[in-house]
């Protein structure tokens, strides 16, 4: 196994040891052990930069489930590497921050860090896997770990609800995506993403192409919180702030962006891809920024702002995908992709620092409500500085990095008006207008975030604890992030050849790369261009809106915080629960005989349908052995005891006769030389007898059924039909085998059991070797069933009570 594959799995391996370290070394904050892992991985991934800069990529693969074509393959190109560095880089900053944020005495740190490492490994798996099924598995693990982290404070009602909502939405999306993956593999005949991309030219004409695109996009949109799936993200803010900074702004929510960009070479260049991405992205951008203004909770403001910024990146990827429509690259189109990649990086830095600042405010004051906060500027000067820089970057002010990417964004939007493809002419003007309006509100909520928290008057009565600046350990991570914000803002070109160009090159695969459009050169001064005027207008109008806030903050639309889309979700959830309850009531009668009837009827219908459809009935007595007298007598007794059971009124007698049946079956096994099965049957009978003896005290007296005989008739019919079905299948199978000269698989197993598996008992060899996986999974089922029985027995529900 190569080092790279191990790097992806390292967080998972580390997660195993965290509970032990937590238990044995309670005096050390568990975070310090975890801290090392992303730091080491970050250093490791940095070593890939020189290679990737030169346009190379790294690929390593080992076979995992060869029969499904599932290989565990790591593919590192510019785009994957950018994400790997973000995941590990932000990762160790967040872990460092969390060490001071989470109290080692009061918090269940082992849970927290196990979930966090689980997420880290899964996220690395998502961005570095080339096999799309493996990617899907990691994708779902990120949803799972996100759910665990949101519900970390599981005693709070809101945490559980937020976790449920995010899981339902993202897993729904993930499942939809699985459908898209299935279609993709049908279209291309491969599970490797790079091999799919190589077939992009022919795949466009496949009838499933559009369906696959939409299904994949549903997955990406739910994960990246695009309208109308965005509602889970604000509720996810119930997670501890380090988690919000890490999963719900810097990394996990960008998995959808990652996937969209990864598949741009495959789907890009088509009108549908362009329209879906850019329209959903712009709607999300506008909706998110408008909603963020209404929030009163610091983290909610940031959550909606994340939604809005994700929409912005999504729309940029949509616009940029048009570049693949042409054979010759053009700066107009690649410019949008550059803006997307650059803003993705910038967003991770400034949003990370803002979340950490919000966490500090929450931690030190005990509240995140902007109506209570105010005047913290002099009390928390470091946090204030961090927030100002982060918010200024988010609002798109020079000289910070957010200004540069926002300029690029405006440029991409205005350039759309020059497109002459995808029948865009009439709609093009809306692109810059929507983007511009959203930016005004972005500026506004940034102003609210900073000035409502730090400006104004300090009211000590609002806080239950003594307010003071955070300890230095908590400040280190956000300070590092805002330093990057400033440095990249002033010298943007230090990251462009290292991170941006390789990333753009991998998104724009299929476009000739030697074109000057791939040479990224970012600078502040473009001259008096339209973009600059747009920014100036944003600042002026945004400031005006903030200045007049007193006038409009009493509007009812501002007062309402709850997202109206939530109503749809609540309605849907209620409907889902009540309709599934209805279905359950229909079939779960609580009577064993009903369940047996259901199972039997379905068995009969399914099997008989197949038998009739393929005309599988047959009777061929050739090659059958003679029926001996002994066998005949045994069958006779067997039939008599089975027929006797329904007429027995006493429980003990009924159990005893049922035992006869079991022992007769065991005798049949003996006659047909299956000692293992016979022994198992005898043992099961014995254990059942013990069980009955123990349970007798609790069973009510066997009373005669009060149902009318007409009720029993269908059951007699069913049992007869089951008998006929099974007999027909057995005779039919035998006749088919005789007629087609088929050799039973057991011949091979019997002949080879000693040579291949070193055992002479073929039954046992089948169990432990040939079909070992079946056995292990059956054992798992048995274990689950046993625990379920115990749970049901101990739960003791009252009459009419339901789970």
């Amino acid at each position: 196994m190569s080092l790279t594959l191990f790097a992806v799995l390292l967080p998972f391996v580390a997660a195993i040891f965290i509970p032990l370290l937590y238990k044995w070394l309670r005096s050390v904050h568990t975070g310090w052990f975890v801290f090392v892992i992303p730091l080491v991985l970050f250093g490791y991934f940095l070593t890939f930069i020189p290679d990737v800069m030169n346009g190379n990529y790294y690929y390593h693969s080992i076979s995992w489930v060869p029969t499904l074509g599932m290989d565990f393959s790591v593919f590192i190109d510019g785009w994957g590497l950018l994400f790997a560095l973000l995941i590990t880089g932000i990762g160790f900053l967040v872990v460092l921050y969390s060490i001071y944020y989470l109290d080692k005495k009061r918090e269940a740190l082992h849970n927290f860090y196990v979930y966090l490492l689980l997420f880290m490994g899964a996220m690395l798996g998502v961005v570095l896997s080339d096999n799309i099924l493996v990617l899907y598995v990691f994708w779902e693990i990120t949803s799972l770990s996100s759910m665990l982290l949101i519900s970390y404070w599981y005693k709070r009602e809101a945490s559980i609800e937020g976790a449920q909502k995010s899981t339902l939405i993202t897993v729904f999306g993930g499942f939809t995506m699985l459908g898209g993956i299935a279609l993709l593999s049908i279209i291309t005949g491969t599970l490797s993403i790079q091999e799919m991309i190589a077939q992009a030219d022919t795949a466009v004409n496949h009838p499933y192409f559009l369906a696959a695109m939409i299904l994949i996009l549903v997955g990406a949109f739910t994960k990246s919180a695009q309208f109308p799936f965005h509602i889970w993200l604000p509720d996810a803010m119930e997670a501890p702030t380090p988690v919000s900074a890490y999963l719900h702004s810097a990394t996990m929510v960008k998995a959808g962006i990652y996937l969209v960009a990864r598949f741009t070479p495959f789907f890009g260049g088509t009108a549908e891809w362009f329209w879906i991405l850019s329209s959903f992205g712009l709607i999300t951008l506008l909706y998110g920024s408008l909603s963020a203004v209404r929030q009163k909770d610091l983290k909610s403001i940031l959550a909606f702002s994340t939604i809005s910024q994700l929409g912005m990146i999504m729309s940029l990827l949509g616009i940029g995908s048009a570049a693949l429509y042409f054979d010759v690259p053009n700066e107009i189109y690649t410019g949008a992709v550059l803006a997307a990649v650059f803003h993705l990086f910038n967003h991770a830095t400034f949003k990370g620092s803002l979340f950490m600042a919000a966490g500090i405010v929450d931690h030190e004051t005990g509240t995140r409500d902007i109506r209570k906060l105010g005047g913290l500027m002099t009390i928390m000067p470091a946090t204030f500085t961090i927030s100002v820089i982060g918010a200024a970057s988010m609002a798109g002010l020079p000289p910070f990095n957010g200004f540069l990417s926002k300029e690029k964004f405006f440029m991409a939007l205005t350039d759309v008006t020059e497109y002459s493809i995808f029948s865009i002419e009439s709609a093009a003007i809306w692109f810059p207008i929507v983007g511009w309006i959203a930016s005004i509100f972005t500026f506004l909520y940034c102003a609210i975030f900073v000035f409502r928290t730090f400006g104004g008057k300090f009211k000590p009565d609002n806080f239950s604890k003594h307010v003071h600046e955070a300890p230095i350990g908590m400040l280190i991570s956000p300070i590092i992030l805002v330093t990057i914000v400033v440095i990249v803002g002033i010298f943007p070109n230090i990251i462009s050849p290292v991170l941006l160009e390789p990333a753009i090159a991998s998104i724009m695969q299929g476009v000739p790369q030697d074109h000057p459009a791939f040479n990224v050169d970012i600078y502040h001064w473009h001259g008096w261009e339209l973009e600059l005027f747009m920014t100036i207008a944003v600042v002026v109008l945004g400031s005006l809106l903030y200045a007049t806030m007193r006038k409009w903050e009493n509007f009812s639309i501002y007062q309402r915080e709850r997202d109206p889309v939530n109503g749809l979700y609540d309605y849907g959830l209620k409907g889902l629960v009540s309709s599934s309850k209805g279905v359950t009531k229909l079939q779960m009668t609580g009577r064993l005989k009903d369940y047996l009837s259901f199972i039997s009827v379905f068995l009969i219908l399914l099997v008989m349908y197949t038998m009739f459809k393929f005309d599988a009935f047959g009777l061929n007595l050739a090659g059958m052995s003679e029926i001996t007298v002994y066998e005949a007598i045994l069958v006779l007794f067997f039939i008599v005891s089975v027929l006797a059971i329904p007429f027995i009124q006493q429980r003990v007698a009924a159990v005893a006769v049922l035992g006869f049946v079991g022992f007769y079956i065991a005798l049949f096994f003996v006659i047909f030389r299956a000692p293992d099965v016979a022994m198992t049957q005898l043992l099961v009978e014995t254990v059942v007898v013990i069980l009955f003896m123990l349970a007798f005290y609790h069973l009510p007296g066997l009373r005669k059924e009060k149902d009318k005989p007409t009720f029993a008739f269908p059951r007699v019919m069913i049992s007869v039909a089951v008998g006929i079905t099974v007999t027909a299948v057995a005779l039919g199978a035998n006749a088919y085998q005789q007629g087609h000269d088929l050799i039973p698989i057991s011949n091979y197993q019997v002949e080879n059991s000693a040579d291949l598996a070193g055992g002479y008992n073929v039954v046992n060899v089948v169990l432990v070797d040939y079909r070992g996986l079946d056995t292990v999974l059956e054992l798992l089922v048995l274990g689950i069933a046993a625990l379920a029985v115990v749970t049901l027995v101990k739960l003791r529900m009252k009459e009419g009570e339901d789970l």
């Binding site: 060869p66 000692p675 293992d676 022994m679 198992t680 043992l683 099961v684 014995t686 254990v687 013990i690 069980l691 003896m693 123990l694 349970a695 005290y697 609790h698 598996a757 070193g758 055992g759 002479y760 008992n761 039954v763 046992n764 060899v765 169990l767 432990v768 070797d769 070992g772 996986l773 056995t775 292990v776 054992l779 798992l780 048995l782 274990g783 069933a785 046993a786 625990l787 029985v789 115990v790 027995v793 101990k794 003791r796």
Partner: protein
Amino acid sequence: MSMKWKTNNLLFIHITRVTAFLILALSIYLFFAGHNNPGGGFIGGLMLATSILLLYLTFDRRKINKMLPMNYANWIGAGILISLLTGLIGTIVGKPYLTQFFDYFTLPFFGEFELTTAVLFDFGIYLGVGGSALIIILAIAEDT
């Protein structure tokens, strides 16, 4: 176990003292015999459960709990883990998951002797089946 099951049948007690351990021995024999003769993890596991259940039927619960201070539910988890992890042995040398290995060794006095990873795998089944049967029946028995 409810008090109703605290019997004082002397004959029963004395027979159980011997037979329970005979059954236990048989269960171990069946487990090892499995690869080449009738037997194996499933049968052995059920028999293991039978022998312990016989003790529970005869003596009162407190005595047994003192004698066998263990949580049978753990057996299930341990069994599944053992079986799953045995499967990993093959992957270390690049063979598919769950590949079993075996070889023959000649020991003085004992003669030819076979060692196989299948026995480890089967041991997982043995524990899992035994634990499952035990906790189901004990839970029902305990319930009054």
